[in-house]
Subunit: 135 residues, 2 copies
Amino acid sequence: MAFPIDHIGVVVRDIQAALPFYRDRLGWEVVGREEQSDVGVKVVYLEGAGTTLQLLEPVGPGGIRDHLEANGEGIHHLCLAVPDIDAVLPLLAPGEVVPVRIGGRGRRACFLPGLHGALRIELTEAVSSPAQSED
Amino acid sequence: MAFPIDHIGVVVRDIQAALPFYRDRLGWEVVGREEQSDVGVKVVYLEGAGTTLQLLEPVGPGGIRDHLEANGEGIHHLCLAVPDIDAVLPLLAPGEVVPVRIGGRGRRACFLPGLHGALRIELTEAVSSPAQSED
């Protein structure tokens, strides 16, 4: 049981400045935009050849702004698609209390505590909620 | 034309210490090991659900050791699989002279100059050379 990568999250200072390389030169397609005001980020989703890239630009206080100030631009996390966060968490973070929120694209999501072999890992429930259609 | 991600390269201080999380807990499988002495790294390839992760541990002087000392552990690059580096380079790095080397798994590879929207991007020729079998 290995979970597929749902997306790769990249912190950038300015999404508009980053887009031309991915979209126009690498040929990736913008497939979604959203603002997650609870965590102070503007998000653009790009898809190319089976991979989803999530560009994250801070627009308010929160972890992404803190990360940008401390570390500069760069990959922030890998997000794995899991069928059921509540079932998987006890296996991946045994004994830990992990807050689950409604994250990108209206899905339940959480970050695993700590850095795992240097990676920040998010889990998202790939199955959409009843209120959310998958496309 | 978007190129698929061949692998995600992650710099770690100690591959053996990083492996248990990926292999035993996330269920990714070790599919290859190699040493690239020309760039001073030991490499382990892991595969899980269609993604290849490349753990890079410095064993000598070179860019990976420099990166670890300057930035600590973390994702180092995304590598895109392209059919022909020589054909693609003029499109992705117009006017630039980019050194191409024999990289991981005996394939021709190069890094695009600069950081693109904060990402270091490598290209690898996914088609194996005649001396190399693909598995």
